[in-house]
Amino acid sequence: MSNIITLPAGTSAEPLMAVRGLSVAITGTTGERQLLSDIDLTVNARSVLGIIGESGSGKTILSRALVNWVRQPLKVTSGTVRYGGLDLLTLPEAEMARLRGREIAYIGANPTSALDPTVPVGHQILEKLRTVSPQLSREAAHKRVIDTLDAVRIPSPAQRFDEYPFQFSGGMMQRALIVDALVSNPKLLIADNITQPLDVTVAAQILRLLRDLQKDFDTAVVFISSSLGIVSEIADDLIVLDRGRIVEHSPVSDLLHKPQHAYSRELIAKVPKLWSLGGTIPQPSSGEVVLDVRDVEKTYEVRDRKAIFAHRKVKAVRGVSFTVRRGENFGIIGESGCGKSTLSRLLSCLEAPNSGQILFEGQDIASLRGADLLALRRRFQLLLQDPYNAIAAHCSIGRTIAEPLLIHGLGNRNEIETKVKAVMTEVGLPETLYDQLPVGLSAGQRQRVNIARALVLEPELLILDETLSALDQVEQAKLLDLFETLQARRGITYVYISHDLAMVRRVCARIAVMYLGRIVELADNETMFERSAHPYTRALLSAVPTVEHKPYRMETYLLEGEPPDPIDIPPGCSFRTRCPFAFDRCAIDDPVRGADIGVNTSACHLRADSLPPADAASPSNGAPA
């Protein structure tokens, strides 16, 4: 790797940090394994250096090595990390401690576990500030923390100062950690995958915030991410990391448009695409209605800490209605807390709704008990997200797949074995796995075991609750193909519940967007992605980290703040607190979505044509008709 790095214009030639020949290995019972090899990189003052790599590329290890946070069983085998004339890797612990927090700050991917859970967030930031700047008076430090909390747009910072980490959402916590990092005015900020656990609209806010603050505070940033779409939004220069080696280093626009290395091209190809797909868009089916959900509500009670013997109601699902037709792929999308997991529990009969009906082929499933419910379960299956926890480690694969047949008492030993083996072949699992334990299986294979277990009952409707979220792109594509084949062969109807817009775009004919327990928009695939009628849908689409041309600009639809607490839902339109287009009527009048049989509906007072027009797609992307 060359040491000659093209500097963006305007930055000084004196690098802030220079890494040379850095190698890190893991020591284990089987000897040493190299995780980072011969890393060279330079961070210039006031610039943003992006590092992109997939999981397992060593990017977290690299980011930690930059602050000399390398612990057993990891070990630096060679190289230097020079900062201000010092080699951080050989610096005594005490001197390193003096640099940390003052000169170099670090933010990780796991905001919720980064602070002591038993001490209020503000107090911990104050503690850090007072440690790194002992000359500040208590009052001055306190004021500075509150001011900085305000600067990252945390609402009512004085009150938030005394709240505990568990009272912060992931996005709020990440903001607080940005405050914690920047409050002492560091020269360098290492941000390791900080948007990874966040929803796309929140991630977009954080990204925007970090970009603004980086300019205000004159901080250099090393921004590590696994999403090319995100890192390209913020970085000046990009480093591509593959299996512990730097394979390419160039300015962002060069990398996106003229990638040099094969792996960079592969990375770009893997970025999810919503608008430049090619192929046909799934079309709604005109079959009979299989699933008819009518005005379903679900409320949970939680204990109120602020009043005696009081409970507060969490409105998780608030009047959801939709219909699914046979042979159709129906998508339900939304961000965390929108009520889609509650809806999934209701749909799969794990809980009953407080009101409303869920009709499966005309029969209300909420009222079913005993044998009727058991019979329904055969025709109505749900696939879950986590391929590791959904199947037992102590049962052989054949036994796992046979479990539903045993539960339902279908067939004798031989029949069951034949059936299980047939279904294993159908989902692409070799029969030789029949007697094996699932120990060595990959995530994709485990998910196939899961699928086989559901299919062995020959269901008519499959609900896929984030089923493919844990899988990588390639594996995901293979399973989507499998679902398609199964649909053609068995006429199964699918309901996809997901936060993954790219996947829904690819497979779902009709899509419902949920926000705060409601469906705010329900439309066919094409309308949803090209001419969506609800501002929230547009915000969601604008925030998806892609590297293609988007019809909705992030700047136009950037949302403020976070969704309201489902305990205190504001009157009027529940989206108005974050809506960039809210007007007077929204505060009083709750917009209703019309009946949805075969029509596209949206819960907004604004007509779609009074929203800003979608950017014309460039001809090369060719909006499919």
Partner: protein, 329 residues
């Protein structure tokens, strides 16, 4: 504030129910296990008719629920009743054998008997806890902070060894070594504070291993938490992280251990140790009462013991929820 009020209202309510149930369990047990107290009160030579009459007078032939109801109303009015056996003068155990009948007025009040014995037990328990803390806190902290290295191993050995020593045997050995053989400390009975030392050592040997292990596990687990490493990277010193955050977090499971296990162990240990050393506390009183079928004393002590357990558990849970606001109650 609202939280604290609701917490205590709820827990005191639950606690009263628990104490009531414990009282009922013990009350019933005493009346269904074999052994008629009347025979012991009146002596083996008493004619059956006198036995029956006394039993009826004492209400021991009524249905258990009726007896229990009477007992509860009595306790609620602040009266724990009178001993079956012990005289007003206290002291003598054997029980006066009064073949003409039984006069409750000549018997000692249970409340007074407990009042006399309780301070001795409290003194012994307090000294035992002090000894326990002196041994386990340094050793447990050292083991937890140096997880995987020699202080950790030492902690494991010491706790595995101490927990393997039956308190009865430790008691006898210490009497032999420190008292009988060398005369360093007095042992049997009670004639001054020095008589508390060896029994307290026995208690400490019983309690320390549990605490050593719990402290080291809890501290080591917190050192492994992300917030600890992140704290160092944020610029805080290791010492500050341990003093202000690790110890604070490590205390939560320790509080629970103290409430759920240690206090129960301490009470049990107290009984056995007092018995070994003829130490005039509650344990001695109770064990003698059991052998003499002295129901009123056993009932009162059981209620007292469960009341103490319930109260300490309540305080301990309140402390944990105050430290860690995520906990529910």
């Amino acid at each position: 504030m609202a939280f604290a009020i609701e917490f205590f209202l709820r827990r005191i309510g639950q606690g009263l129910v628990i104490v009531l149930l414990v009282a009922f369990v013990i009350f019933t047990l005493l009346r269904i296990v074999p052994g008629d107290p009347i025979r012991i009160i009146l002596g083996p030579m008493t004619p059956a008719s006198v036995l029956e009459e006394t039993a009826r007078n004492l209400g021991l032939r009524d249905p258990i629920l009726v007896q229990f109801g009477r007992f509860v109303t009595q306790v609620a009015s602040g009266d724990l009743g009178r001993s079956f056996i012990r005289g007003v003068q206290g002291g003598s155990t054997g029980g006066s054998q009064d073949s003409a009948g039984f006069d409750p007025e000549s018997r000692a009040s249970v409340a007074e008997l407990i009042g006399t014995a309780l301070p001795y037990s409290l003194q012994l328990a307090a000294l035992g806890i002090v000894f326990t803390l002196l041994v386990s806190v340094p050793l447990g902290l050292a083991a937890g902070l140096r997880s995987g290295r020699w202080p950790d191993r030492l902690g494991l050995y010491v706790s595995s060894f101490l927990v393997s020593l039956p308190n009865i045997w430790v008691g006898v050995v210490l009497i032999f070594l420190l008292s009988a053989k060398t005369g360093l400390l007095p042992a049997i009975g009670y004639k001054g504070f020095a008589y508390t030392i060896i029994p307290a050592m026995v208690l400490a040997i019983e309690l320390s291993p549990v605490l050593i292990r719990a402290i080291s596990v809890s501290v080591a687990a917190n050192l492994g938490e992300t917030y600890f490493d992140v704290g160092l990277v944020r610029g805080l010193s290791r010492r500050a992280m341990i003093a202000r955050h690790v110890l604070r977090n490590a205390a939560v499971p320790l509080f629970n251990l103290f409430g759920a296990q240690m206090i129960g162990m301490l009470l049990g240990g107290l009984f056995v140790v007092e018995y070994i050393f003829s130490y005039p506390g509650l344990g001695m009183l109770t064990i003698n009462a059991v052998f003499q079928r002295d129901f009123p004393i056993i009932q009162a002590v059981a209620i007292l013991a469960s009341g103490v357990l319930v109260a300490i558990n309540m305080l301990v849970d309140f402390a944990s929820t105050t430290i860690d606001r995520r906990l529910k109650f």
